[in-house]
Subunit: 383 residues, 2 copies
């Protein structure tokens, strides 16, 4: 069991001061004392420590409001850098960010091979390229976080991927050995949720559900600023919840899973002609030209999404739901179909404003991964 002592007090207050500087910089010692409730002496001492750590620096004097001019402090966002990865079934997005999550460099690469060894080589090559451009800094590369479309257990092993062979690769182990930095592996919906919470559409909320609609449907749930994980890290994986128990059989063994109706795969299938798959770019193009068949399909898509989103509202009682889908982002009219389903003429209907579209869009997963790594780093230097 863990007992408390003065070291803990110091760490807690250090984190408190650093957080406040990050969120309100530039800020003076006096102001910090005021908002944190800490004694001025204590703040000065903590600030001295943080200056030693290169986590903050002084930018000179601020404006006087009738007395001695304050020394303004700012967060040193370039004290270190992190890499967030979005590994898809057929693409690999890598972002290099500073400690505020601002992208310094990024790469988007299509994955041509389905062989795990090819992906492994590709990933390491691309990472080496990104790492080579990291500026000189006190902490350098603080770590790598990987968002993956599949089930991640509590040991951060990728145990199941529906549409790829990536679960054969022990990412954490390989990347830690290769680059000698901490590596985290997370489900893409969880990293996406965290990204939107830190930098995106959910910045000002603490109870959110993030829904990413790709080939399948992934869900990440944040409650009181904490990602919920469940026993095996599968919390919120709602793609295979049943919305019609008489419906068609799913690959998971159940009938009428949400994914069968409201995934991009389902949308594509509804538009397939002569066994010819439709590209999503085509769908978008035709939608913008008011192609009736596509508009009809998108309306149905929205209806089915709405069914599951209604379940999400009834299940998690969130402040907001963030939708992450390339078609919805480019053609927001789909939201109207969803809202029609969500809000029948009834008193118990949820607030329509609960629906938001991803602000980070195609970078949500990678930026969220970076954000998770940054949080871990900040927790580490202040503990």
């Amino acid at each position: 069991m863990i007992s408390a002592d003065q070291a803990l007090v110091k760490k807690m207050n250090k984190k408190l001061v650093l957080r406040e500087i990050i969120h309100t910089s530039p800020v003076s010692r006096a102001k910090l004392s005021e908002v944190t409730g800490l004694n001025k002496t204590t703040v000065s001492s903590q600030v001295a420590d943080l200056l030693d750590d290169n986590l903050i620096f002084e930018i000179g004097q601020g404006l006087s409001s009738g007395g001695r001019r304050p020394v303004m402090l700012v967060f040193n966002k370039n004290a270190g850098f992190t890499i967030g990865i979005d590994l898809g079934v057929d693409y690999l997005t890598i972002v290099l960010t500073d400690l505020e999550g601002t992208i310094v460099s990024e790469s988007h690469q299509k994955i041509d091979s389905t062989l795990p060894c090819d992906l492994q080589k590709l990933m390491i090559t691309l990472l080496e390229k990104q790492i080579s451009v990291i500026p000189d800094s006190r902490y350098g590369l603080i770590g790598i976080c990987l968002g993956v479309p599949g089930l991640v257990n509590n040991d951060q092993e990728l145990t199941f991927t529906p549409n790829s062979n990536w679960s054969e690769i022990p990412f954490k182990q390989i990347l830690e050995q290769t680059f000698q930095v901490p590596v985290f592996v997370e489900n893409e919906a969880n990293t996406g949720a965290y990204g939107e919470k830190e930098y995106g559409a959910a910045k000002h909320f603490k109870n959110i559900v993030y829904v990413s609609i790709n080939a399948g449907i992934g869900t990440g749930v944040i409650q009181n600023n904490e990602l919920l994980k469940g026993k095996n890290g599968l919390f919120g994986e709602m793609g295979h919840t049943v919305i019609d128990f008489n419906g068609p059989r799913c690959t998971c063994g159940n009938r009428g899973c949400w994914e069968l109706y409201a995934s991009e795969k389902a949308l594509h299938q509804s538009l397939m002609s002569n066994n010819q798959t439709v590209m999503w770019q085509d769908i978008l193009h035709r939608a913008k030209q008011n192609d009736p068949q596509v508009l009809q399909a998108l309306d149905t898509f929205g209806f089915y999404l709405g069914i599951g989103l209604k379940n999400i509202i009834n299940t998690f009682d969130p402040e907001v739901i963030i939708l992450r889908n390339r078609i919805i982002e480019a053609f927001p009219q789909v939201l109207n179909s969803i809202r029609h389903t969500l809000v029948p003429n009834h008193t118990h209907a949820p607030d329509v404003n609960i629906l938001l579209v991803s602000a980070l869009k195609h970078n949500a997963t990678a930026l969220g991964a970076a954000a998770i790594m940054i949080k871990h780093f900040i927790d580490g230097v202040t503990a």
Copy 2:
């Protein structure tokens, strides 16, 4: 923002020591120092405080294992008492417990009137009777917690009750004024979940879902030992999630809600003949006599329960699900029907051992309410 200081350290360690005494008493100061990691001097000091508070006492010397004999400490479970209430649509259960959740006195009363003012009088009368038997103790009645079948907002106001008029009564305000003690109001599924977690079937788990099946279906979710609440306190209220979007219209405005299929109300309706309602005692009786119609109905009941429970597993990834229903408790064969639905012949099937039956049974809600009050009290005296 809240900063840390020495007072916080002391409180944290006080709670640590008290918890350890509660869970392992009788225990010596030396042993406490060993398991908590705190210095022997610190433990002695904290123990002295707790002795002062009458929260623990010494029961004399324990056995020597080759040295000075230890002084054994135990939790003073009679330092105070609490009342937990289970308010149903037509019944009122009250339990008076000590600080370990052991029932000292209880009352089960049928509510004949549907008038709020009648219930209010009845409740106060019964509470006065229970309070009159509380033994002399340092803290006396530490508070009252009320579990209710309806929606409770973050201000502990009962905002909606599907089958009664109880939401008109400002319980918290009335009971606090009448008895001058802290009063909490919680959804019955949340108190039940907490009760099973503290004293019942889920004692050794930290990620649990509790499902109470009455006229409707209530769900309480505990993740990492914390009750999840959501924005409006509706987290986990899954009775109105859709399991068949083509299904019949529900009073909530949606189609095919789980409650329409898997509540006791649904079971009763499936067995209704000539517009004559069936009593649950009859159902049980006929089931035990192998009445085919009832067995069939229960099998269907189990199937529909299974559909929703599968969704719960896919949604919350819990260690265990606790089922609270009087018919299932008395006739556990229903579990087999549920398990058949839960586990089709498929690799992704969940572990059948995930299903547990309530250990606290008809007292789950009231005992859970008491447990919540006790937790609040312990948090209070150590803060």
